[in-house]
């Protein structure tokens, strides 16, 4: 399916990626290619390696790549630091966004945005100009300005933390966004706000990977491809109806698929 002819070069190419932590293999040969404008969903049981996959793409120092490569915009990024990956346009939306007490959200967002702008040879923004920009982006996720004066994610509800992640995505304008269970812990209204934010930010030049357990996010954001992961491997890839089938049949169905292969 992914080998069909594309008009542009891929944003992300993951080729036979294996990785481990503390000598424990987690990923066992994952391959995935994302072209501009595509939305991919990765589904699978807890512990199958979905979140690890996202962290390895973002450069988490606790994991070691033992085989394969990650290419971003045609360049091998296996040895790039997390900040270099972010600056060049890779965004990871955390399943559990981290609280950073004492660091103002506004300053954190400004420093991050300027790091990306510097990479893009755009002028860095001072506090006043940044406030203008951030006000505009706050509207995308229906967040109140009061969030800016608080410490990063500290005291935020689950939904507020996820909206703060999407706000960061809106400010950083990544080429590819990997959103790790962005829908978990959200009520229906918050899910719609987050989904609508993601749709507004994504465009024909960007790629999105949604890591999720549930169909409900995929009802809001229709993926081009759905991948099922099990034991550190992608065991099945299909179009959006694969998610529906998975919802009906459960992961046991994919267990049968593993047995068959």
């Amino acid at each position: 399916m992914q080998s069909k002819m594309k008009e542009s070069d891929p944003i992300l190419e993951v080729d036979n990626l294996s990785a481990s932590t503390d000598n424990l293999p987690i990923l066992k040969g994952v391959s995935l290619t994302v072209y501009p404008g595509e939305i991919h969903a990765i589904m699978g049981r807890n512990g199958c390696g979905k979140s690890t996959f996202s962290k390895i793409i973002a450069g988490h120092p606790s994991y070691t790549i033992t085989n394969g490569e990650i290419k971003f915009l045609g360049e091998n990024i296996n040895s790039l630091e997390p900040e270099e990956r972010s600056q060049s346009g890779i965004f990871l939306g955390f399943q559990y966004p981290i609280e950073i007490p004492g660091v103002s959200n506004l300053e954190f967002l400004r420093v991050s945005t300027n790091a990306r702008r510097k990479f893009l040879n755009k002028e860095e923004l001072d506090t006043f100009d940044f406030e203008e920009l951030v006000k505009e982006k706050l509207e995308i996720v229906k967040m109140d300005q009061a969030f800016l004066s608080r410490s990063v994610n500290q005291g935020f509800s689950g939904g507020e933390k996820k909206r703060n992640e999407i706000l960061q995505m809106a400010l950083l304008e990544p080429k590819i966004a990997i959103l790790d269970e962005t829908d978990s812990g959200l009520d229906i209204d918050a899910l719609r706000i987050v989904a609508s934010g993601i749709k507004r930010i994504s465009n024909a030049q960007t790629g999105i990977i949604l890591i999720t357990h549930y169909q409900r996010l995929l009802d809001e954001i229709k993926p081009n491809y759905v991948h099922v992961m099990s034991d550190g491997q992608i065991i099945k890839t299909g179009e959006s109806d694969l998610a529906l089938e998975l919802e009906k049949k459960g992961y046991e169905w994919t267990d049968n698929f593993i047995k068959e292969t």
């Binding site: 900040e83 990956r85 972010s86 981290i98 660091v103 420093v111 950083l172």
Partner: protein, 405 residues
């Protein structure tokens, strides 16, 4: 240890004052603290010896204040340079304590001194000459912020003493800055007496340069309904020791303390606190933070004493510590001694390293590891620094110094 030899032979000071004589007498029999005592067992002996290696300097060399005066109305004093002060304004007055008042108060204090616990004060008072003692009595309201500087010049030991009485209903904001020049030792002893309903917002910022040493002792007596806030920061000393002794003499008083020490290279900085509740309904909220890097050593020992008379005491003492290197060392020991049975007291200690998940989160937002570590450290400092009464100008200076550190 030149000083100790002179103390032993009673040749340390010419023209001794009565106070100096009393303290020297007390020191002669055992001029050094007991290294096995609780208060001194962790103190680095060779660094303490180095502190005492310099000759006493009673004359004060020209001192450059590190930042400009924030406002004309601020009162700025340098111990040893301009200790003559008499300000009588419409709402307040600040006048110098008479020699009799000083002697009477210090003698009262000395009579309660314990050789190990108050060794730093005994040394200070035996070396501090008349010119280097600043005694003030403050009353009234709308008092402008006060800044008091102490410093030690290179290759010498300077002893400076500050004594302040806050009269009833008086409200004061005071920043004390202790500075050590290269290869110097500063002995600073401070005594505050807070009368009923008075309030003191006290900041202590102490920093040195290469091979500076500091013995900084702070003694506070609080009468009922008084409030004492202390924000302190000690850094860049080869050896520094900050001793805080607070007595709520009748209970019903409030004390808030937020302190921090930063050590690098092979420095040793320690904080010892003793809070005595001598009456009911006392309140204490204390947090002490240490940050140790390289091969340095940070120490915190705190004790809260709650005798039977101190019913309904509400006291909390926390020690938070951050180790930035595998070779750095932190010792911490917050402790409670409670006899009273109707009290609310808690204490605790944590030692951790920079949070790796926080660092990774920031890095995935394009912030470099160095910047992310700085942000995390500044958030660690923030709680303490925001408690020190400092203006924007001084904040910039502090920021600069902390970044250099």
């Amino acid at each position: 240890m030149e000083i100790i030899e002179k103390i032993k032979t009673n040749k340390s000071i010419d023209n001794q004052t009565e106070i100096q004589k009393i303290c020297l007498d007390k020191l002669q029999s055992s001029p050094l603290p007991n290294p096995r005592s609780e208060q001194w067992r962790l103190s680095n002996k060779s660094k303490l010896s180095n502190f005492l290696d310099y000759s006493v300097n009673e004359n004060n060399s020209k001192f450059d204040i590190p930042y400009p005066k924030n406002s004309e109305s601020n009162i700025r004093l340098i111990i040893g340079e301009n200790c003559q002060i008499k300000l009588i304004e419409k709402n307040y007055s600040i006048r110098q304590l008479s020699e009799d008042e000083l002697q009477k108060y210090i003698k009262e204090q000395i009579s309660c001194f314990n050789q190990n616990e108050n060794w730093s004060d005994l040394l200070n008072l035996s070396l501090s000459c008349k010119n280097n003692i600043l005694g003030l009595k403050i009353n009234g309201s709308k008092i402008p912020p006060i800044e008091i500087f102490s410093y030690a010049s290179s290759n010498s030991l300077n002893a400076k003493t500050l004594i302040i009485f806050l009269e009833k209903n008086c409200n004061v904001e005071l920043l004390q800055v202790n500075l050590g020049e290269d290869t110097s030792s500063l002995s600073q002893s401070t005594f505050f007496y807070l009368e009923e309903n008075s309030s003191l917002n006290h900041g202590v910022v102490s920093y040195g340069v290469n091979k500076s040493n500091l013995l900084n002792s702070l003694n506070v007596i609080q009468q009922k309904n008084s409030k004492y806030n202390l924000g302190s920061l000690h850094f860049k000393f080869n050896y520094a020791r900050f001793e805080i002794r607070i007595k709520q003499s009748e209970g019903n008083a409030k004390t808030n303390i937020k302190g921090m020490q930063i050590t690098k290279k092979d420095e040793q900085i320690s904080t010892y606190t003793k809070i005595d509740f001598d009456g009911p309904n006392g309140f204490l909220d204390q947090i002490n933070k240490s940050l140790a890097d390289d091969k340095s050593h940070a120490i915190f020992e705190g004790s809260i004493i709650v005798p039977k008379i101190a019913q309904k005491t509400d006291a909390s003492q926390l020690s938070r510590n951050l180790l930035l290197s595998n070779r750095a060392q932190i010792d911490t020991k917050p402790q409670l001694e409670i006899i009273a049975d109707d009290v609310k007291c808690k204490h605790g200690a944590t030692i951790s390293q920079l949070n790796e998940e926080e660092l990774f989160y920031m890095r995935t937002r394009g912030i470099t590891l160095t910047e992310a570590s700085k942000l995390q450290l500044s958030s660690y400092f923030q709680e303490i620094i925001s408690f020190i009464p400092v203006s924007k100008d001084r904040w910039d200076l502090l920021d600069k110094l902390l970044n250099e550190n």
